[in-house]
């Protein structure tokens, strides 16, 4: 281990020109292209969040103007939701690992895969242009009629950006679905698939069925704003709440685009580092599909106080409780997987422990909001903000980092510092709780969200929250530092540094351009750790 000798030909060094990257059809390189753009969007969204948290340290609203504040939280939401959370796990980790995991040479449509990335970048550039020209102030939800009539900001440009980026998501979902159906290696039956692949399959279902609806909704909004169409205009008898129905018909399932793939990552990492099969494989696999399907039936729980009839609110509340069950099942199965395992505390596993803790809180507080009697009080308060950050940052982003730490040796062929990886996971866990737990209390106290200034009795909790956010920022910066450092100075990882079972670990690190020298033949389930002696390569 004194010298770092990497395999001779890898997907990274087979060609090294810029053009070879920009015109690549290799799913692994496309995953890295996504990693670059998404990391930039994450940085951008983080800077906006910092602005928001600094403003909220004092009740008066004295750091930035109200208008600037509104633009900051809107751009934070737009950048994070559409350009980080939705693509992070599927488009980065999914693109890199999924074809390897099913023993394929590539996704079914490599050219479309590259096209998805370009579409994503174009969408991002539109949104970036909107931000550079002064930003947008509607909230990431673009509610009409504010967005169509009242706002003076770059709603149109942002809307076009989101619309275009949506097609990237659709095409990725389409590609993955066909890949999982048609590109599996011989012997890779459905019930031998790793759970991450199941999760990506469920995700692609949501992307295919949900994303076109937001696309058309944003298009209607754009027509209304630019040309004066009247579909959501209350002055013509149009219904502004229809926008909310259509918006959430996508955007609630979109939460599952964000959380299902990280859940799949958790199953992979958990099985590997406890050297065990996932407890109740088929329960976990089918719960992904159940969540994807039920996810389409709960959108109106965002509208409990928006004037829908109490009886339909009742139905949607019931369905929202129902969708909580498969998520709960997954959590119990993960906990049970640890029982009598041989648990190896490496950095990716620490991220998984963090994920379980935070996702648990996020999921359980969802029950408060699904409860009609409580939601009237909690809707549009900081309780909601805390809840969805626990799911999206505590869940999705922790899961993303668990996956990134897990597959990093495979992606780059190099190891990062395990100690720093563990430290970063703990910093993020503590910082996250300090940031967002006080917001549950603020929410029940009645502090509405999207407030630039607030009554001063809420200050102490807000200061705590901002303090936690700075810790979070340090944690994320630390990750960037040691991962980048590993590119130069990291130890050679070897084909299978974790002793994992998946097909992706059977090829060299970094993999060959065509993934496998020979098409692998699968003869056993995904997590047969017990059947063989585990050796760390």
């Amino acid at each position: 281990m004194t010298t770092t000798v990497l395999p001779r030909v890898t997907y990274l060094n087979v060609r090294t020109t810029v053009a070879s990257w920009l015109l690549t059809k290799d799913h692994k390189r496309i995953g890295i292209l996504y990693l670059l753009v998404v990391s930039f969007a994450f940085l951008l969204g983080g800077i906006f969040a910092a602005g928001v948290r600094i403003e909220l340290t004092t009740p008066e609203g004295d750091f930035v103007s109200a208008d600037t504040y509104n633009r900051l939280f809107t751009m934070h939401g737009v950048a994070m939701v559409f350009f980080v959370l939705i693509p992070a796990v599927p488009a980065i980790l999914g693109n890199f690992a999924m074809p390897l995991m099913i023993g394929a040479r590539d996704v079914a449509f490599p050219k479309i895969n590259l096209l998805s990335w370009y579409v994503f970048v174009i969408g991002f550039l539109f949104t970036l242009a909107a931000m550079l020209f002064g930003g947008v102030d509607t909230g990431w939800t673009f509610y009409t009629p504010y967005s169509s009539q009242a706002s003076n900001s770059n709603v149109l440009l942002t809307g076009i950006g989101v619309f275009i980026a949506g097609f990237s998501s659709i095409l990725t979902g389409l590609n993955f679905m066909v890949t999982i159906h048609r590109m599996r290696a011989p012997g890779m039956t459905w019930f031998r698939l790793p759970l991450f692949v199941w999760a990506l399959y469920a995700t692609s279902l949501v992307q295919i069925l949900g994303t076109p609806v937001i696309a058309i909704t944003v298009l209607m909004l754009a027509l209304e704003r630019a040309l004066g169409f009247g579909i959501f205009d209350p002055r013509l008898g149009g219904d502004p709440v229809l926008f909310q129905h259509l918006f959430w018909f996508y955007s609630h399932p979109a939460v599952y685009i964000m959380i299902l793939p990280p859940m799949g990552v958790i199953s992979e990492v958990l099985a590997c580092f406890s050297r065990k099969s996932i407890f109740g494989y088929s329960f976990v696999a089918f719960s992904s599909l159940a969540i994807a399907v039920f996810g389409f039936l709960v959108w109106a729980h965002h509208l409990f106080v928006a004037g829908i009839s109490p009886y339909s609110a009742m139905v949607f509340s019931f369905l929202s409780f129902a969708v909580a069950i498969p998520s709960a099942v997954k959590t119990f199965n993960w906990a049970a997987t640890l029982y009598r395992g041989a648990i190896w505390w490496r950095a990716p596993m620490i991220w998984v422990f963090g994920f379980i803790g935070l996702f648990l809180v996020g999921g359980l507080t969802g029950l408060f909001l699904a409860s009609l009697g409580l939601d009237v009080h909690l809707h549009d308060t900081y309780f909601v903000v805390a809840h969805f950050h626990y799911i999206m940052v505590g869940g999705a982003i922790m899961g993303y980092f668990a996956g990134l730490h897990y597959w990093w040796p495979k992606i780059t062929g190099r190891m990062y510092s395990n100690g720093l990886g563990t430290l970063a996971a703990m910093l993020v866990f503590v910082g996250f709780n300090l940031t967002f737990f006080p917001q549950f209390i603020l929410g029940y106290l009645g502090m509405p969200r999207r407030y630039h200034a607030y009554p001063e009795e809420f200050q102490v909790l807000n200061v705590l929250s901002s303090a936690g956010a700075s810790l979070l920022g340090i944690g994320y910066t630390l990750i960037a530092c040691y991962l980048l450092y590993s590119l130069w100075k990291g130890e050679e990882a070897g084909a299978n540094p974790w002793g994992a079972t998946g097909l992706e670990w059977k090829t060299q690190s970094p993999p060959l351009p065509e993934n496998f020298a020979q098409t692998p033949i699968v003869r056993e389930g995904a997590y047969e750790y017990a059947k063989r002696e585990t050796k760390v390569a």
Partner: protein
């Protein structure tokens, strides 16, 4: 070097078709992937129109009078003519796919050209329909003009009319462009009975766009017309 080639060719075991892409094992796998992909794509297209149709449905229930008045404003002769044109183009498209399947490139080109011509006919008629609406100031927006108490709701009707037919026309434009490329490929004898997937896939797309119109025509032009005449 010969070793590397042998290792590379090993999974196939036989000389493969020039159209077989590197990452597929067999032609059948490639064909199945393309077909599934196209169907999945059409599902997303259904959802895409679905959002607008949802809005249509809501306002149709809320404002039935405006809807019947609006449907009377549309030119049923042009709409009906276009319906016939599109159904005809579906037939010629199906014949083009059939010709490609049986290995008749000249017939494939001929049927494809006819399909393109019918598609363009549709778009030209649509243009004159839009022009008429423009002259009558029926384009929704600040300059929208309509006499009568239902004016506001008719603006919503026309918003949806232009939304739905505009989106459909956009699909037609994409379809015609797609077919032009396919025609060129057919002209260059790129297809064979073993491999004509692009023709078949464009056919699926074309039929889908046709079916969308089959829904739009009654929903927009015929809705409540009978009720109004009685």
């Amino acid at each position: 070097m010969p070793d590397a080639l042998a290792a590379h060719a090993e999974p196939h075991g036989h000389a493969h078709h020039p159209a077989l892409q590197h990452h597929f094992q067999t032609m059948a796998q490639q064909q199945e992937a393309a077909t599934l992909g196209m169907w999945v794509f059409l599902v997303t297209e259904v959802m895409f129109f679905g959002g607008l149709l949802m809005a249509y449905l809501l306002y149709r229930v809320w404002y039935p009078e405006a809807w019947s008045e609006g449907s009377l404003e549309l030119d049923i002769r042009m709409g009906g003519f276009n319906t016939v044109v599109l159904i005809g183009s579906s037939l010629t498209m199906a014949l083009a796919v059939r010709s490609a399947q049986t290995g008749a490139p000249r017939a494939t080109v001929r049927w494809l050209l006819l399909t393109i011509a019918l598609g363009l006919t549709f778009l030209v008629v649509k243009f004159f329909e839009y022009k008429e609406k423009y002259d009558l100031h029926h384009i929704p927006g600040p300059n929208f003009v309509f006499e009568g108490p239902q004016k506001d709701h008719l603006q919503i009707f026309f918003s949806l009319y232009f939304g739905l037919t505009g989106l459909h026309a956009l699909h037609m434009v994409i379809g015609v462009s797609l077919l032009s490329v396919i025609t060129w490929m057919a002209h260059r004898r790129r297809f064979s009975p073993e491999w004509y997937t692009p023709v078949e896939m464009s056919g699926l797309y074309w039929h889908f766009v046709d079916i969308v119109w089959i829904f739009l025509f009654p929903l927009l032009y015929l809705v409540d017309r009978a009720h109004q005449l009685s």
